[in-house]
Each structure stands twice: as C-alpha cells, then as structure tokens.
Amino acid sequence: VYAAAPGTSAPETMVPSSVPQPKDDFQEELVIRPLHSGDIYASFQFRTLWDTDFMRDNKVSHYRLFPKSLGQVISKFSVRELHISFTQGYWRTMQWGQPFISSPPGAELWVWFQDSVTDVDATWKELTNVLSGIFCASLNFIDSTNTVQPSASFKPLGIGNETDHRFLRYATLPREIVCTENLTPWKKLLPCGSKAGLAVLLKSEKLFHSSFHSQAVHIRSVCQDRQCKTTSWELRQTLNSVFDLHTSGQGKREWSLFKMFSRTLTEACPLASSSKLYIDITDNSQGEQFELIPATSLLSQAVVLGDRRTFSVYDLTQETTFGSVRSLNLLIRWKSSECDMLRPLLHAERYVAGYGLQTGEIHTLMYNNHPYRSFPVLLLDSVPWYLRLYIHTLSVTSKGKDNKPSYIHYEPSKDRVRPHLLEMLIQLPPNSVTEVTVQFERALLKWTEYPPDPNHGFYVGSSVISSLVPSTVAMDTNSTQERPLFSSFFPCKEESSYFVRIYTEPLLVNLPTPDFSMPYNVICLTCTVVAVGYGSLYNLLTRSFQIEEPNPGLAKRIANVIRKMRGVPPL
C-alpha cells in the first residue's frame, strides 16, 4: 500500500528503516437507502485511520492519507475530539426515518480539548477562526454569546475517561448557509480528492439540487487493537443527501446514479483499502417495492439504529462490479407507490407560540411512539440572551400530567455575554407526547446590535435530544422465534437499545425592530420638540413673569413730578 503513494516515496527513503512507519488506512463507502416516500437517501462515509500520536511528539510532519491541515489543528490546539457539520435543510423524520448521523440545520461544532489546555476559551476562539478558514464558513461568528458547555448531552465518542465538561465547547450557527464553497475544501481533505473513487459523484450542481444536504467531519481517537494499549486517530468525513422524487423524477419513478449525481462509478480510489456501495433492500426482500439493476448476489446484514437491515453490496475494488461497459450505473425502478407517514419511535418538534413583540412561549414536543416502553431523553436547549427566558414558567407535561425532570442543569444568560443553557433528563412515558414550555420576553437591542435584514428575524438554534431508544429488534417477536429458546429469555441484549441524537427545527423569532430609515425623521422631530415644546414649557414652569414698567422718558418724568406736586396720580 505504501508504494502506491507516488509523491511520498522520496522522503520515506530518508527515514531509517528500523523505525516502524505509523500505519494508516483509508476506507470509503456509500449507502443508498430508497426511502419510504419514494425519495433516495445517499450517505457517503470516508474513514482515515492513522496510528500516530499528535500529542506525544509534536514533530509529526509527515502526512500521507491524513490531511495535514487537520493534523496541525489537532496538535496545535490540543484537540481530543472534534465534530463539525454543515447542513442545509431539515431532516424529515416523519417521512424519512432516522438518518445514520444526524445534524442540525446550519453549522454545528463541538470540541473536546485535552486536559492539558489551560485557557480553553482562548483556544476555542482561535480554533473556530482557523476552522473558519479551512472550511470557508462563518465559524468565526462563534463567540461567547453562542457557545455553551453542556454537562451531559455531548460525551466523547472516542476513548478516554476524562469527561469534565470544562473541556467541552458546543456551538451552533443556525443561519449558516451551506454551498459549494464549503464542499470544495471538504473534498480536498480526501486522499483521492474528487478525482477517483466514490468522491467523483460529489458534483455540486447535482448535490445542491436535493432536499437535504449535510456534510460533516468527525475526528476522534480510537483503540488500535483489542488491548487498547495505543490509540490511533480516526477521521470520518460523512456526506448525507436526500434526492427528491417529485422535483427530479419528472413523473418517472426511477433513480440511477447518473440521474442523481450526473456521474457513474468507474473505479475505486486506489488508496482505499476498501471501497463499497451498499443498497438497503430490507423492505424489498422479494423485489416487490423496487427493482435493482444490475443485481448483485453479495448480501450483508447489519443492525443499524436498532433495526436489522439487509444490504446488497457492490465491491468497487473488484473488476467484475463494473461489468463489460467498465462503469457502474446503478438503477432503482420503483414498483409500488405508497407514501404514508412513518411513526418513528422518537421524534420532536418545536415552535414559538403567542403573538406580539413583547413575550412568547417556546414549545418543545417530544413524541415517544413506543407502544409499551418508556425511556429517558436528555434535552439540551441553548437560547440566545436576547430571548429572556422566564425559567419559573418552565413546565414539562406528558399525558396531561406534570412530568418532573430527574436532572436539570440551568445556566442563566448574561446580556451580551453568554446564552441560556438548559439541560434536562426527562422520562418519556410510552405512547405519549411530552411538552416542554417556557415563556420568554423579547429584549430590545441597541440599535447597532441589529444584524443586516433585521426584519428577517433572529434564529434560535435547534434543541438537541439525545436518548437511548429501545430498538425495534427487541420488539420484533418473529426474529426471536427463529432463534434457540435458551438465547431469548432475557430481553436485555447488546442491541436492545441504541443511541439516537435528534435535532428539532431552529426557530425564527422577530424582535422589536426599529424602522432604520427613520433616524433622520427622529432627529428632526426630537430637536423640534426639545427646542419648541420643552424649552418654552420649561421657561413657563421655572420663571415667574412680572410686567416691568419701561424706564419712563425724561418728559414723562418731569410731567409726573408736576402731577405729584398738583396731587394728581402720575401717568
């Protein structure tokens, strides 16, 4: 594998052969899931593993598969774990089910720092600015007013015991718009770029013609082997998108790689150790829903999100996959056309209630559609300071009864400094809707604090709901019948529940906004009122007026003297 990298072979020869080279490995895969609604969900995952330690010796300067820009970020800022996602659109759980990796609309960034970092806030600030440059995004708008330190919701996904949330930072930018300029730097992080392998499909003109687009980078450290004596770094780049049947189908209910991406597959990335394409055919075991061309006999089973799924697998490293035309253009032709709403076990929605520009109420609804099991969820809400939450009005009700959260972590906001943070652990009763409401007051901003287009409104980021959901595999009685009786007595299995993180929609809230074309009028009016109205009133109120006799002239004075002598009243 090493020899396959042409540009890197020259410096390698300089290194003494006795030192073992750190091993690295690259895998790529694409999962295509025909959705219930007739849409297509395509999920790319690219994984780079590297057995190195950025922390121990800072002199890691030789990069092969791992992108150097990210490696330098990890070592410079002592990052333990980094998750960043850019999403355009909202994942429609009711129609599409659960995504493999969920993300909120806009940009999301959460980072665990090593415990060697002394000034976390300064490092975080610097890191966001660097990432902003790497991904061509407005991450530099992350500051203390939208950063929180969740105490329970975001635990490290990699190895490590330290979970002091002082080293965690979480921020979202719900207004961030994702487009080609974010996709290009993301693609450049891949070892093959977009020149070979699955990444050739990532053409922006088609990718941004979809209903949902989300791209993410996850960096964490994982165990190198079973003993876990040493760790290696994992970089996962994921890209999820959903293609809409109605807008691109033109009436025909069929999909192909070419139709979705305007490209077909011709080869795997030469640097990849594995390159696979999976098609989810669980609902199509007898071929009653759709037809798959070309067919493959390779099948794979996996438990994904608590559900046992079957996949057709196309191995791109095999020559036979591409057939005689030397290109793979997968075709899915729909046969049935039903599109009922799904009832996912857990979903949530959020909205602002009330009218007027003074107060309002945030409602968060969480649905547990499991017929008989209740499960706990962790709700994280980060609300900007300009919505002043009345925390005493916080109420959690399910099935008409008060539902007392077993854990509440609340950090009040500080004007212009930090947002509200509310984390709660709530038990969702089976088959119920739990409603969390809290009232707020809209603050009046200073006139320089309004962003451009202030009448558009202000965004409040999605709430995050993390939960261990009982899996449907455990609910499925048919599958337990097939297995030996001794294995199925206790329902508690390894896969009996699975972790899900879902995001509600962001909110758009209007704050009282001055009419910015008015300052001139206001200045004129105020000046007039002050000068005319206030001035004269003040005069009238503070002075006493007396009529002062004007100084009489000389003639008059003489006349008065004469009149006085005559005993007549003066003039």
């Binding site: 979809s210 809409d244 602002v352």
Partner: protein, 614 residues
C-alpha cells in the same frame, strides 16, 4: 417661543382664541371635511410603487399550465362535498398526499354566544385540512400560506385551483419557504381555530385540537375565493380585524401581476378610471375610498385573511368576480397570477415592512398615506382642544364683576369632585351594562317575550341604550345640591378632553372609525350647553349619537355599493349589523363593540347630561 412667555402676547392670543372660538371651530370643521374629500382627488394622491427590493426588481416566469385539470379537481371536490354534506376530509387528505404534501387535520368546535342568523349557525363543529409543501434544503423556519374556505355552496373552483397549484409547486425546486395549503371549514371560525392552533394561543375560548405540523413563522398569506369557472375580474380585499391592513406592498404585488398578466383587477369591486378630472371620475374615486373607510371602520374581517393580521402576517383575499363584462379570464391565468405572486413572496428576505401599513386607497393604483389623511382628523380634533381652552379660560376668569367677592369664591369652590364624578361613573356603569347585559339576559328575554335569541340580544342592547337617555334625571337625584353654572363647565371640560383623547387614540389605530365618530361627535361636543333650546338640541344629540351614526352608515354603505334598500330592509339590516358586531367581538376579538359600549357611548351620555343640567 416668546409667544407663551410674554404675558401680554399670551393674553392677546388667548383672548383672540376665545373671542373667535366659534368661527374658528366652524372653519376647522369645514376644512377637515374638505381635506378628507380632497384625498380622493387623483392629483393629491400618490401612485403606488413597490418598496420592497426583493420583490421589485427580480423577474419571475409564470408557467402554471393546469387550469382545466384544477377545474376538474374542483368539480370532484364539489361532488365529494355534496356526498359527505360538509368538508370531505378523507378525500382532501388523500388528494393532498397524492400531490406529495405532508397532510394534517385539525378539528375544532365552538358554541356561539347566541345563534348567528345570517349564517344560520349556533354550535359549530368542523375540521380544517392543510398540507405543507416542504421547501428543499430549508430548515422549516419560514412559511407562506394559501388558503381557500370550504363553504357550503360555492368556492369549489378555489379549492380545485389550490390543489392544482399544490401539485405544480411541488415539482419546482426553487422554494425557499414552506408553503402551507389550507382548506378551512366554516370560514372565519375555522380560520380562527387554525391560527390559534398554529400559534398556540387562545383568545376567544374556542376548543381545537393541537396542530401536528408547522412550517415556522408565516411570512404572508393569501385567501382565494372563486365561484365560477371563468371570471371577469379579480377583487382584492384588504380590510382585516379591527381595521388592520396588510402592508401596502402586498396590494402593489397583486396590482403589478394583474398588470403584467393582463387581468382586470378591482378594489371594493370598483375598477379604476382614467378620467379623474371629470365629476363622475372623481365621485367614482370618492365612492371607492368611502367604501374602504366604511369597511375599515366596521372593524370586522372582510375575508378570511383578516384574522392573520393579528399575528403580524401580511394577508389579503383575492376574490374572483363574474359579472357581465366582456373580458373573460380562465383559471390557468389566475393560477399563473398566484404562481407569480408566490414566487415573489418566496424571494422575500425579510417580512414585508418597507411600505405603508396605514393607508386608504381611492383606486388600486393610488393610495393616501397616513401623513396625508391625518390632517383631516387633526382639523376635527383641534376643535375639541379649542373648546376646552375656551372653557378653561371661562372657568379661570371670574364670571362677572357685579356680584360681590364672597359669593364669587363660593361659586368657584362649589363644583366639587362629586358633581363631576357622579355623571362620569353613572354613564360608565350604563356602558358596562350595555356591554354585558345583552348576552347575559338573552335567556330571560326569550322566556318573557316572543323573540328569538338573536333578536333578544339586539333588542336588549337597543333597550339599554335608550334607557341610558333617562339618566340625567337620575344623576340629579344623586347629586347633593343644585347643579351650578361652574359645575357643567367643569363637566364639559372633562367630557371634551375625554372625547379628544378617545378619538385621538381610536384614529391612530383605526383611522376610519375615529374619523366617522369625530364627524358626528365633535359638532355636538362643541355646541352643547344647558342654555340651548332643549327639544331641538335633544333631537340633534340623538341624531348624532353613535347608534344613529351606525344606522346612517348602514344606509350609506348600501348606497355606496349601489344596492339601496328601503327603510324597512335597512332597519332589519341595522339589527343584523348590531348582532354581527357583538358576535365579531366574542368570536374573533373585534374591539369595535366594546369601544362603543364602554367608552364612546358613556362619553356621549356626558354631553346628554350637560344638555339637561339644572
């Protein structure tokens, strides 16, 4: 401003104002009326123009092709509606789902305080059906609404067109805001239930089931009313609840697209004319404007859009009219018009806020902004201030030099708080009775008199109103001593200032209502004293009272609509208008009835009191 600081000049100014008070008041009144009538004169008004950049310069193409199919859907809808005998909920849900929308329903029920005889309903139960077209790659933060009421007789074509547009819109990629297609049952009541459900408020005590799907904050809404396959013109209805109007840019948008596509468009059912310099052209503009003033003053929503305005959602109703004109427009053209409007609304970056919220329209292409029409009201309101100044001066200067000083001091101190407070309190209590009793006593009234509930409410209201006229005598019994000359002056000063504040506030919120009330109440406030001929003045006072103003307005409105009625019919209409006003208040929260009953009527009673001061 030396004018006020200099006692000499101040005295001169005040003496001039008191000496010439009556002529100045007359001139102000005439000038106010003349100014108002001048507003309809085209050279004095401004042409409408698009203020919002996002909607002005961007070009959109309209390509909606499926008018015939929409009509077919409308006929299918009508058939299902007749079969079910109401809203065909299941059919609508299925049809919307087939068009690729997320579909939800909302059921609601409402018991009216008393039966609505115009629409023949008392206990209302219904279901709203709405489908959300999710915009691709949009985070559910903004939405637009297109609604069509499902009414018993007609409006099938509107529902058909709505479904046709939904299908066409679903296949387009360019949407940036979710679009909600709503079919509401029982017109305004259904709309009220849906809006309350969407914003999770409950202002009127209606019961509704919570909504399951939402699209974020609604930016704009249009309501569609079509009752025939081919129409001759489109009418735009703007007047909403409590006289609120949508942003003028929404009207501009409609007008711009009518011009572009070539559809005849009207406002208040009146085409615009080019012959503004002729008498008939001017009177046409006056009629259009007066219709708007009357509708706005009524404070009721004149279309389903009217309820959106409370939630700061710009909304208007587009009504298809089929008259006997030559010019015909088919449904495809209307579909293209709506498509164009929605595409432009979709381009909005901010809420519509650039243009005016306070305006009058003498034609669809001209408008009168608040800066132009307020002076008309100001000229009327200044009369009250002048009268108040006059009274103040009279109270401050000793009445005559013939009496001795001791009697003088006695007279000045005698009009105590009680003599002013008693009539104030009593007239307001009458107002409270007028506000509360009609609905509470309907059952008693129905038991004892051969009337229906609605008649009972209206007749009780009229009875209490009339009974209030007997008050002056009752007030005097309560008073400790004889009413003095100073006493009525103080009372009148209070009443005049009260009226000025009341009308001023009303005109700021609902100019038309404030102006109409000022037209009738200001003259009587200006002239009434205990010394004028009693019978004649009492007659004039009654004629100018709020109830009679309403009666005249009913006849005038019918005249403006070119549907004159006989006195008999007019009286019946008057009764139904009163019942509608009370219903509007309890169903939608219209404020006109409480304003008249609790504030304007007591204020008028004060003047009535002054007339009969002893």
């Amino acid at each position: 401003m030396g004018l006020l600081s200099d006692p000499n000049r101040r005295r001169a100014l005040i003496s001039m104002l008191t000496r010439l008070n009556a002529p100045i008041c007359v001139v102000c009144y005439l000038a106010g009326v003349a100014w108002f009538m001048g507003l309809a004169f085209e050279p004095f008004t401004l042409r409408t123009y698009m203020s919002e950049n996002a909607m002005g310069s961007t070009m959109v193409e309209e390509r909606f092709p499926a008018g015939e199919r929409a009509l077919a859907t409308g006929r299918e809808f009508a058939a299902h509606k007749n079969k079910v005998g109401g809203m065909p909920v299941d059919w609508l849900v299925k049809t919307m789902q087939d068009r690729g929308l997320e579909v939800f329903t909302q059921s609601f029920s409402r018991t009216l305080p008393f039966p609505d005889e115009n629409k023949e309903r008392y206990i209302v139960k219904g279901t709203n059906v709405y489908g959300i077209l999710r915009a691709p790659r949009a985070p559910r933060t903004e939405a637009l609404v297109l609604s069509a009421p499902c009414s018993p007789g007609d409006n099938n074509q509107a529902v058909g067109l709505l479904l046709g547009l939904a299908q066409y819109f679903r296949n387009q990629i360019y949407w940036a805001k979710d679009i909600i297609f709503l079919v509401n049952e029982h017109d305004l009541i259904g709309m009220q239930a849906w809006l309350e459900g969407y914003h999770h408020t409950n202002t009127t005590g209606m019961s509704w089931s919570p909504l399951q799907g939402r699209g974020g904050s609604i930016q704009a809404a249009l309501t569609l009313e079509l009752s025939s396959d081919v129409i001759t013109s489109l009418d735009l209805v703007l007047e909403g609840l409590n006289g609120q109007l949508p942003n003028l840019d929404l009207a501009n948008l409609f007008y711009a697209f009518c011009q572009k596509i070539g559809v005849l468009c009207t406002i208040q059912g009146k085409l615009q004319r080019n012959d503004w310099d002729s008498v008939s052209g001017y009177s046409h503009a006056v009629q259009t404007m007066m219709l708007m003033v009357m509708k706005q003053a009524s404070g009721r929503p004149w279309g389903d859009h009217g309820l959106f305005l409370r939630y700061h959602i710009e909304a208007a109703t587009v009504k298809g009219i089929n008259s006997f004109r030559q010019y015909k427009t088919d449904v495809t053209t209307i579909g293209r018009l709506l498509e164009g409007m929605y595409r432009k609304l979709n381009n909005l970056l901010e809420r519509l806020h650039q243009s005016y919220f306070f305006y009058l329209m003498p034609s669809l292409s001209h408008f009168v902004s608040i800066g132009y029409y307020m002076p008309a009201f100001g000229l009327l309101a200044v009369i009250l201030l002048l009268r108040a100044l006059d009274l103040w001066v009279q109270l401050a200067t000793p009445p005559s030099r013939t009496e001795d000083g001791i009697a003088d001091i006695d007279q000045q101190s005698s009009p105590g708080v009680l003599s002013v407070l008693t009539p104030l309190v009593i007239s307001h209590l009458t107002g409270v009775a007028l506000y509360t009793l009609p609905i509470h006593f309907q059952e008693t009234a129905v038991e004892h008199f051969p009337v229906s509930e609605t008649e009972a409410v209206v007749l009780t209201a009229i009875a209490i109103y009339t009974a209030g006229l007997a008050l002056p005598h009752n007030t005097h019994r309560l008073l400790s001593g004889e009413g003095t000359e100073q006493g009525w002056r103080v009372l009148k000063l209070v009443a005049v200032l009260y009226l000025a504040v009341l009308l001023g506030c009303t005109a700021l919120i609902n100019f038309s209502l404030g102006f109409i009330l000022a037209l009738t109440l200001v003259p009587l406030a200006a002239f009434v004293t205990p010394h004028v001929p009693k019978v004649l003045s009492a007659f004039i006072l009654v004629i100018l009272s709020p109830a009679c103003t309403l009666l005249f307005s009913v006849f005038f409105f019918q005249e403006l609509q070119e549907m004159p009625v006989s006195f008999q019919d007019g009286w019946l209409l008057y009764l139904s208008v009163i019942s509608q006003g009370i219903l509007d208040h309890s169903l939608y929260g219209s404020l006109v009835y409480p304003l008249i009953a609790l504030l304007v009527y007591p204020c008028w009673l004060l003047f009535w009191n002054i007339l009969f001061w002893k």
